[in-house]
């Protein structure tokens, strides 16, 4: 059983890794996008899924990562790798400086505070000369989608392995303890501030790397697209759709929702967003605990699963 599972994961990985060698340009491009979204969902999973803090500030990390690469390459003419590191440094600094005060907040208050941080960052960056103000930065183009694809896939694997490690490490157990009962975790001797800040920073590192790769790939960033809050909402939807607090849930959620959304926007082009909204509403109503929970329990309960969900969660 366990061996089968590992083989399935490896097979999926092999299929994904081979895509650039047989897939069309559109597929590769779609793949880069879907993989980066999966990285973001997986990054959010660390702070949102495992630690239980609904961060709307991960788009800030993504934006800082984008601008790290953007500023390094467009303004200072440094190599891409230096930009990535710069972006990660910015993100970690941000996570530590603002994480400590903001992570004291709970529930909706934390969500709103991080949402506001994203707004503040958009507004600040549109006034910073070095970051090209609100006009944005144009990066030198690199015509190598295979590279971007494999980089994104590599990052996703790294993020997923990190989350896998979380599930069997003391650090990860600490985070779960915080999610389940923060006071209890404190009593048990978990340094909650340190753990939360580290989770926030770790989540930020992956988001920043994704942002950096994306920036170099699209060759153009501006504050609105870099700190886009709807991107943050997307990562939450993807993680929650797949199953927050699971190793593979966010990845599955991101890949399947990306495919649905891509299909909709090329087939019924103008109604795509409408359908996406409806999918989200329906998914939340009938499976509020995500795909992972559904897959686990569907076999036992069958179609009654959906009705039971509604019965449990309604007023």
């Amino acid at each position: 059983m366990k061996a089968l599972r590992i083989m399935l994961v490896l097979a999926a990985f092999a299929v994904l890794a081979a895509v650039p060698w047989f897939g069309s340009d559109v597929l590769i491009q779609f793949g880069i996008n879907a993989l980066l979204l999966a990285v973001l969902a997986q990054g959010w999973n660390i702070i949102g899924g495992y630690t239980g803090y609904a961060s709307f500030g991960n788009s800030v990390f993504y934006g800082l990562g984008s601008y790290g690469v953007g500023i390094a390459m467009a303004q200072w003419h440094l190599p891409f790798a230096v930009g990535l590191v710069f972006g990660v440094v910015l993100a970690v600094t941000f996570a530590v400086l603002l994480g400590i005060p903001v992570l004291r907040l709970r529930g909706h208050y934390f969500a709103i505070a991080t949402l506001a941080l994203a707004q503040v960052m958009t507004a600040i960056v549109s006034n910073v000369e070095l970051a090209g103000q609100n006009i944005g930065l144009v990066l030198p183009p690199l015509n190598n989608d295979r590279l971007f694809y494999e980089l994104s896939l590599g990052l996703l694997v790294l993020a997923t392995l990190t989350v896998f490690w979380l599930t069997r490490s003391r650090f990860g157990f600490g985070l779960i303890a915080i999610r389940e009962n923060e006071e209890g975790a404190e009593v048990m001797g978990v340094n909650t501030t340190l753990y939360k800040t580290m989770a926030f920073a770790l989540s930020g590192v992956f988001s920043a790397l994704a942002g950096g790769i994306h920036a170099y790939w699209v060759t153009f960033i501006d504050p609105e697209s870099a700190f886009d809050i709807s991107l943050n909402v997307k990562m939450i939807i993807m993680a929650v759709f797949g199953g927050p607090g699971t190793v593979l849930g966010p990845v599955v959620g991101a890949l399947s929702l990306s495919a649905i959304s891509e299909f909709l926007s090329s087939e019924i082009t103008s109604l795509a967003s409408l359908f996406f909204g409806i999918v989200v509403v329906v998914a939340v109503v009938i499976m509020p605990r995500g795909l992972a929970d559904m897959l686990r329990r569907f076999r036992k309960t069958g179609w009654r699963y959906f009705a039971e969900n509604i019965r449990t969660h309604r007023l």
Partner: protein, 406 residues
């Protein structure tokens, strides 16, 4: 504890599904030359995006009705493939890639707005497929030395040029000027071009303020305009901002001697939303539906405008004319090149020089055309051309009276 054994299986399934999902390919139409574009049909700029979709459609239909495109001995029909980018830059980049690599379109037409053109031009450059776009005017688009991007909007930096010429002849002449501009690529380019022109013409710049794109509250700026008693106000922004600006100017009783806006004034939607409060507003357009602009397909610009209105139920403005000219420029280049080979058509595009319903189309080395802006003003229900290339056309209503004296 049973872990979620379903997930790995689902992951594998998702990986395969994702791979297959994006591979289905559209049918290729034989003998048709396909033009592709990704345009804002939904989202915040959809009301300008539609000009492009409609203009492309009208031009393609008209050319097909007239028999199509003659290349060598063969005649081809044009076909159009349009996606809705939902006003999302990233999606538009992906859709252009899809147009080129999956739908196998022959040539590209542009999106609306400078930031889109800036990002999307990277796709045309990468695949070496010419894109003629009539929606982005920022000088940045053409400063990258790209070979496959051509633009039919007049350069942003010269938008207020003719307005400043006109201001010099006003009586009594305005002395102090407020320059207000949104913080996006296009409007910053406008401001950078306008500033030296104002100084050279001897005006005092009393206010020079950048504001946030999508700002809704102009009360602080308007109160400053009033307190500094500024004579002329030049605003480079977006239609929503300018609507709010005019309404708030009225409610605060701020009436400078004149104000002029880069966008809005030529569009019917704008004048309808403001009603009679639109009166006296100056604006500019690189295009007016005049019978003097002769066109091979439509006869002239006036006939284009009436055909457009008849088909879509609203008046075209320069966005639409620019979009139609993009299609015509591609057709002309294909005919000149005698082939649909993208590289040869690209070279032919660089050399085209013809009169169209939009004006003279001839691209400079960067791929942009130069069109003079005509100053226009709302006078009662009419939109009146005031000042063109050859100087004064009609008398402006100046100075603007106080709001309670109208």
């Amino acid at each position: 504890m049973l872990k979620f054994s379903g997930l790995p299986a689902t992951l594998a399934a998702a990986a395969v599904a994702m791979t297959l999902g994006a591979m289905s390919s559209g049918p290729a139409l034989a003998k048709d030359i396909v033009l592709g574009a990704s345009v804002q049909l939904t989202g915040p700029v959809a009301n300008t995006g539609r000009y492009y979709r409609d203009a492309y459609q009208l031009a393609v239909d008209k050319i097909n009705e007239a028999g199509g495109v003659k290349i060598g001995d063969e005649t081809y029909k044009l076909a159009l493939k349009i996606y809705d980018n939902q006003s999302d830059v990233n999606l538009s980049v992906r859709q252009y890639t899809q147009l080129v690599s999956r739908d196998n379109v022959n040539f590209l037409l542009g999106p609306f707005a400078s930031n889109f053109a800036l990002a999307d031009s990277a796709v045309s450059e990468k695949y070496k497929i010419p894109m003629v776009q009539g929606g982005g005017a920022s000088d940045q688009i053409f400063a990258r030395n790209f070979k496959y991007i051509f633009g039919t909007l007049a350069p942003a930096s010269n938008y207020f040029g003719s307005t400043i010429e006109m201001m010099k002849e006003l009586d009594p002449p305005p002395k102090t000027v407020a320059l207000l501009y949104a913080d996006d690529a296009f409007d910053v380019s406008v401001a950078e071009g306008t500033r030296p022109k104002l100084k050279a013409a001897g005006f005092t710049i009393a206010m020079d303020e950048r504001y946030s794109t999508n700002a809704t509250d102009f009360n602080s700026l308007l109160s400053q305009i009033k307190s500094k008693n500024v004579d002329a106000v030049l605003v480079a922004g977006h239609e929503t901002e300018i609507l709010n600006f005019v309404r708030q100017a009225k409610s605060l009783a701020v009436a400078p001697k004149m104000y002029s806006f880069t966008v809005g004034v030529p569009s019917e939607d704008f004048r309808k939303a403001l009603g009679k409060d639109a009166d006296y507003a100056f604006g500019m357009t690189a295009w007016l539906p005049s019978a003097d602009l002769k066109d091979r397909w439509f006869g002239d610009a006036a006939q284009f405008a009436s055909a457009f209105k008849a088909k879509f139920g609203y008046d075209p403005d320069y966005h639409a004319a620019s979009g139609a000219a993009d299609v015509e420029a591609l057709v002309k280049a294909m005919e000149d090149a005698g082939t649909i080979d993208p590289a040869k058509v690209r070279d032919a595009l660089a050399k085209v020089d013809f009169e169209s319903l939009y004006g003279r189309i001839a691209f400079d080395n960067n791929g942009q055309i130069d069109l003079p802006q005509t100053v226009i003003q709302v006078q009662g229900d009419a939109l009146v051309p005031i000042y063109g290339v050859h100087g004064k056309v009609a008398p402006p209503k100046y100075p603007m009276p106080a709001w309670n004296a109208r």
